[in-house]
């Protein structure tokens, strides 16, 4: 998180909307207006919204793939090493490297590692857990998990100007626009 760097007086401007359509239109407008340090908040996932705030790819698939590969190689490798190299035992006349019998466990380790990679990847990319966040200072923000939709422009945005930006936001027809304190 941003420390030491002497921070602007307040975090940003938050516009509050009460239906998904408005917030998406607003977000698109803000983005077209050249704002980049923006974010929107909604009670449920809205594909259009994330695109509107300029998010087009998530790296999740890649992360999960890598995790899966690690599990795959690790799983089979472990079984091979332990039953062929480390302590070879004649088990019921089966070959030391009974590869067909090693498949189930390999599969399980693959899935396990993939899933773990995915979940921790998601948390990492989202910067979670993050119990404290400035946006929570927004007065009505509790409704972001109910039926309100919020659009945020951070004060650190290059084009940010307290008054003009606020004006611009109001022009998008929100219920209200509020300052988000640090």
């Amino acid at each position: 998180m941003k420390t030491r760097r002497e921070r602007p007086p307040f975090y940003g401007l938050m516009a509050e909307f009460d239906n998904p359509t408005d917030v998406v239109t607003a977000a698109r407008a803000v983005h077209e207006a050249g704002y980049r340090r923006i974010d929107a908040f909604s009670p449920y996932p809205i594909e259009e919204l994330s695109e509107a705030v300029g998010m087009h790819t998530t790296k999740m698939s890649l992360i999960v793939l890598i995790g899966g590969l690690i599990g795959l190689i690790g799983g089979y490798g472990m079984q091979y090493y332990l039953s062929v190299i480390n302590y070879p035992l004649n088990v019921g006349g089966k070959p030391l490297n009974s590869w067909p019998a090693f498949i189930p466990i390999t599969f399980e380790t693959t899935v396990l590692c993939a899933a773990l990679a995915g979940i921790f990847g998601m948390l990492a990319l989202n910067g979670l857990p993050e119990p404290y966040h400035p946006v929570f200072n927004t007065p009505n923000f509790a409704l972001a998990s109910r039926d309100r939709f919020f659009l945020l422009i951070e004060s650190r945005d290059d084009n940010f100007d307290r008054t003009q930006t606020a004006e611009f936001l109001r022009s998008l027809g929100p219920r209200e626009v509020t300052d988000v304190e640090y």
């Binding site: 998180m1 119990p131 929570f136 927004t138």
Partner: protein, 222 residues
Amino acid sequence: MPQIFHRSTNTLAKLSIFGGLFILAFAAWALAEINRSSWNTGAYVERQQPVQFSHKHHVGDDGIDCRYCHTSVETSASAGMPPTKTCMNCHSQIWSDSPYLEPVRTSWRENRPIEWTRVHDLPDYAYFNHSIHVNKGVGCSTCHGRVDQMPIVYQYASLQMEWCLECHRDPARYLRPREQVFNMEWRPENKSAAELQEGRELFAKYHVRHKAILQSCSTCHR
């Protein structure tokens, strides 16, 4: 809407995840170490005996051969513990009135055995046979350490299965000529290429069985 948490909790929250992982890893490592520590294996722990018998003195200084007391080491599974009579062979003449030896004399007089504390105690399901090891060129000191330097005998090796396997999987590293088996000074392990070469020759010469047999379960467990 007021904040529920303070800023600092962000760092804490993130740390706690890694911390958790770290603690788990540490616990695993610690367990493994404890398992192998002498606290668990009993290695390097000197055991008090009813008679303060010093191997250092008898073997190191007097140079008495192991087999003088441990008579059956070449013929039987058990190396054999000397009967009181063995002690009395000498100590009826020398040190015949030393207070240290009173328990021995009592034993002899009252026909009551001396109760020694067991130092090397294998699990009952592991069947170790001294004679075969000695006959195949495994030296006393390989497993028992420099007994000739121990005033009070302690367990030299961990006696854990992985320790047994270390040799059973590659005996050549530890074999020595039969005539050197009871030689305490002999090198504990064949390290240099030449030594290993000798080990391999002895391996063949003494018809030591191959790895597959030596690490078969039935070799040690009945």
